[in-house]
Subunit: 197 residues, 2 copies
């Protein structure tokens, strides 16, 4: 965990606290951290402020488990970053900066089937409801991110499990739903949006 | 509760079930309903499918309490529409269609102070992070919706309390945070997005 990662003029920076509402001991990150409890000596993370950049937080160490997108702003309690996933969790044990977000130029293509087969749809905007856009299935079989970073969600309105999809990981190619993330028990994807840096 | 309301080619339609996963008794709505338990005889609502249009669901009858935006798609359990608000609720007891959504032409102006005073910012896109956009405060004092419908959220990433803001209600003008909604205990607003019909 060394050095800084920057996009635009500011290095990525995130602060986290052991208690809610930014109380108790604090720890600042400027690069990825595979185990925050080891690094900080905390028992848990209860609040977060993202000062700059966009980050991905993970339920478990080593970037495993559910993913939670963390854009700039204040997260005074776990519900602020988790919303409600398929099952309740308030753990946030590893973090990494997300480097390729580009809110004004993001593109992703969704495919009905695995391995980029079947009907496809290229998106460059946010869709809180893929069904309302005309995507007939409740699933996405595979997808390609050609620019920027996206978050897909299990339910409409950006709710449920989050799948963080970056152009600079996996070469932007996700051939089947098991590549969306380690917690992907389902390929149900009903909303999707761009990440904002 | 009579008649149908339409936008574009399809009348607004929503189905709700007494149990999760679309099980048990069901009830279909095509217009507003101020008390779903009275109408349906159900003890509660545990799952929803929006077949067409966009709707607003409310925690209490008579369109009171927390607001939950419901765009087209499947909501198999309460966490699918509520995410996590400031406090846990799984009640959804009144509903109305939202008629003025226009995903491709939505405009809102945010003001730092009440009564449209202070710094302002006109938006026509979604912002999962108003801080990242340059909005310095964690609050919004007042706002004007000039077209479409928007949802403001307490936390970044479209999390926390939801404030549904429509051009055709209040003449699109919300002069102070108590006008954002009946449950607005705070004017903290860190993300905002367009509603999709």
């Amino acid at each position: 965990m060394s050095g800084t990662l920057s996009q635009g003029s500011s290095p990525a920076r995130l602060t986290l606290w052991e208690e809610e509402n930014f109380q108790g001991r604090r720890c600042e990150l400027m690069s990825e951290c595979s185990s925050i409890l080891e690094l900080s000596g905390f028992r848990r993370v209860r609040s977060v402020k993202v000062e700059s950049g966009a980050w991905v937080g993970f339920e478990y160490p080593d970037f495993q488990g559910q993913q939670f997108i963390l854009e700039k702003g204040d997260y005074p309690r776990s519900t602020a970053w988790s919303g409600s996933s398929g099952y309740r969790t308030d753990q946030l044990l590893s973090f990494r900066p997300l480097l390729c977000a580009n809110h004004s130029d993001s593109r992703v293509t969704l495919y009905e089937g695995e391995n980029f087969q079947g009907c496809k749809f290229e998106l460059s905007d946010d869709y809180p409801s893929l069904p309302a856009m005309g995507w007939a299935s409740k699933d996405v079989g595979s997808l390609k991110v050609t620019s920027g970073a996206w978050v897909g969600y299990q339910y409409p309105g950006f709710r449920g499990y989050q799948y963080v999809l970056e152009q600079d990981r996996h070469s932007g190619e996700f051939r089947k739903y098991s590549e969306f993330g380690t917690q992907a028990h389902t390929n149900q994807l009903q909303s999707i949006r761009r990440v904002q840096h």
